[in-house]
Symmetry: C2
Subunit: 437 residues, 2 copies
């Protein structure tokens, strides 16, 4: 976001007649009229659209055409996110906490400088997405401003403690803004660390920053706050677009979700599971009966720590078995393998696997197939690995298994206990039924 | 397959009236009649079905019910895969070569011992799947009998040389039977190593062994031979079930396919691409116009070698950056990262990445999102990694990128050349168009 944000080409030609980025404009085209602040050109967009931020917080991209009329109705100084009048607490609305960790959803572009800053004081949020004030009394806290590829165990602990603090204060739901890159790892971490939840905890991200015509930031935030306020599900969930249109958000169980597209708005999918609920036109539809019900009297159990001597190892043809031994030498206490198919490694790895077992390491097996369940009883390879002590982890996602291992290793040094917990479903991470998508 | 194969429970009760595994039986139920050899009980199946192998080579599972009549019409000695009369060469049929590397599809269970053996002499194949004799004149060669998790670079080379040998002898198509676990890695390897193909080369596997009621082995083999004989596409492809029913096979481009389910028959999917063709009721429908046409006069280019100093590294929150440095110390010449989102690693990895770059290693970036395309120009992390020399690999699958790197490193020591080839589409592995599934 360090380059110029003014428009180019056709867009520039039309705009130079009067309006500049930041101005409030009125755009008329045939029967339609749009009013809003002219947003910066997104660097990768074409030059045939302009983007305005409507008063309700949504951005809209408008294709330029000869019949388009653009009228400047406000000055450039106006839309710089200055504080609005603070909207006081409404007794009839639930109190929802929005915790920000950074990422695309928590950011806004400064119209003047192009810099990206987290927009998460309550006032800022209400300026950007005024609709939120009608849904809930908001409390907000920015705990970090990180791209999510930089979020890991110690940050998970801090997020967990912050959520627990607000639940202790009797908030009715929590929304966590987070970058999408590692959002599913964090949702797994929170699922294990925040057990026996009384209220919904919803992680939300956005795939397009709020200066883009196709931004999903406002839509996702409004729906996540709706869900935190009204969903009857007291679990850690990820709330994101169900499809590429702004039609609905779905809530995925925190241990059963994966980012499955680099850029689509509906990149997040439940894997080996169904979404728990859909939020559509402000209505919440439950998609399963199998969930933990909201109960503000339930007593939260917090186990916020993660041990960093766990690792995730993806097998592939030619993987150097010495990598496994390197982890043994470095004092790692457990590995999760992303094996092939039903849970396999090549026989070249067997002696290194045996050394890892002999060292007292926990070794768990998941599949790199993404979907489906491991079964180490079908082929000789699986049977052998199972016999020497590799633990099959059913239909658990490898990313979730890695996080779970890191979490349980922070609580016990007893290998049998680690193994027992890894094999046991705690918060929906293992589904005993076969899922055939 | 080392346990008992006789039936238990209800199935046993009915069967003990007369028929045993291996016998030819006639089963009558209401209006239906089935005749075939009684197959062994599959260890994981329930006790309420029996399985018979029909004369056309397909297996069928029949639910036991009180109105079922089972009549023994042949002795147990009959269905032991004894040689049938060899069917001589028919001039009007194309010559298709079936090369076996092992895996579920190439195996059959001996009715008497439960041992699994590759069934790939021509006679054996025609006994198991007689339909094949009507499609093509078959030549067969068993080059190994491996579970595919044990197949890697040196085996790829041997497969490549074998395919090239038969293409030199003017065969009209090649089918390669292969375990499904690493089938997509091998298909990528063959795609790079066998360029300028004159005829189709089709890798085929099966998800259920041929002694299971739901076995896809015969269906897949018949359709793969059909495709090798008649598809107008001279590329390396993977042919597998399109859906979970025996309705159609689709052919996936060898560089754009991934096993995306541990057990479903339609586990293989084209990723960031569409299948090239569908084979349904013996008819081939092209699904794209973008393919290399069959031309038996085209001169095959064979580059069969792979360098094993390439590795695939999946990033996850907390990945120890020392792993990257370990690869440097071990003299690796290139790494493919499975980054998060658009192609990111945590900033904790930056200094190790810099050391790898300084050592002259090639570093390529793909995404762990499976679907979509990396873009290292959107966020600071991507921009930084790009600036210091990490190469974004567009929409290439990480598995394909790893294989391609291993292949190009066997041909040149010039880092610029490696980089140029990795960025260039050779055989469909990079699609310049955006794909929105």
């Amino acid at each position: 976001m360090s380059e110029g944000y003014e428009y180019r080409g056709t867009a520039r030609a039309i705009l130079k007649e009067g309006a500049h980025v930041g101005d409030v404009v009125k755009i008329t085209r045939r029967d339609e009229t749009f009013e809003g602040a002219l947003m910066p050109r997104y660097e990768l967009a074409d030059d045939e659209h302009i983007v305005i931020k409507l008063r309700n917080g949504y951005n809209i991209g408008i294709k330029l055409s000869p019949d388009l009329k653009i009228e400047k109705i406000g000055l450039g100084a106006k839309p710089t996110f200055a504080s609005q009048t603070y909207i006081g607490k409404k007794e009839e609305l639930p109190t929802i906490v929005i915790i920000s960790t950074g990422g695309t959803i928590a950011s806004r572009v400064d119209y003047r400088t192009g810099a990206v800053r987290p927009a998460l004081t309550t006032n800022d949020l209400l300026t950007v997405v005024p609709r939120l004030a009608e849904i809930a009394n908001l409390q907000t806290e920015v705990i970090f401003t990180l791209l999510s590829e930089n979020i890991y165990a110690s940050h998970w602990t801090e997020i967990v403690k912050t959520v627990a603090k607000y639940i202790d204060q009797n908030c009715e739901g929590v929304v966590i803004c987070h970058g999408t890159d590692t959002l599913a790892y964090t949702s797994a971490a929170l699922s294990f660390a925040l057990q026996n939840l009384p209220v919904p905890v919803i992680l939300v991200g956005s795939q397009r920053s709020s200066d883009r015509p196709s931004s999903d930031a406002a839509f996702n935030l409004v729906n996540a706050v709706q869900a935190a306020a009204h969903a009857p599900i007291a679990e850690v969930m990820v709330g994101m677009h169900e499809t590429i249109s702004d039609d609905a958000m779905v809530l995925h169980r925190g241990t059963k979700v994966r980012k499955l597209h680099t850029s689509r708005r509906d990149a997040f999918r439940s894997v080996n599971s169904s979404p728990l609920a859909r939020i559509q036109r402000e209505e919440i539809t439950l998609l399963t009966a199998d969930y933990q019900k909201k109960d503000q009297k339930r007593r939260l159990v917090v186990k916020p720590f993660f041990n960093q001597k766990a690792a995730l190892v993806k097998f592939y043809p030619g993987l150097d078995p010495q990598v496994i031994e390197w982890y043994v030498q470095e004092g790692y206490r457990g590995l999760i393998f992303e094996g092939t198919g039903l849970g396999h490694l090549s026989r070249d790895c067997f002696s290194s696997v045996q050394k890892a077992i002999d060292s007292g390491m926990f070794l768990g097996m998941c599949s790199q197939c993404v979907h489906g369940r491991v079964n180490m009883k079908v082929y000789d390879t699986g049977r052998y690995l199972y016999r020497i002590g590799v633990t099959p982890l059913e239909d658990m996602l490898p990313e979730t298994a890695f996080v779970k291992l890191s979490w349980i290793l922070a609580q016990t040094t007893d290998l049998n206990e680690v193994k027992k917990v890894m094999e046991t479903n705690l918060v929906g991470e293992i589904d005993s039924r076969s899922i055939y998508d």
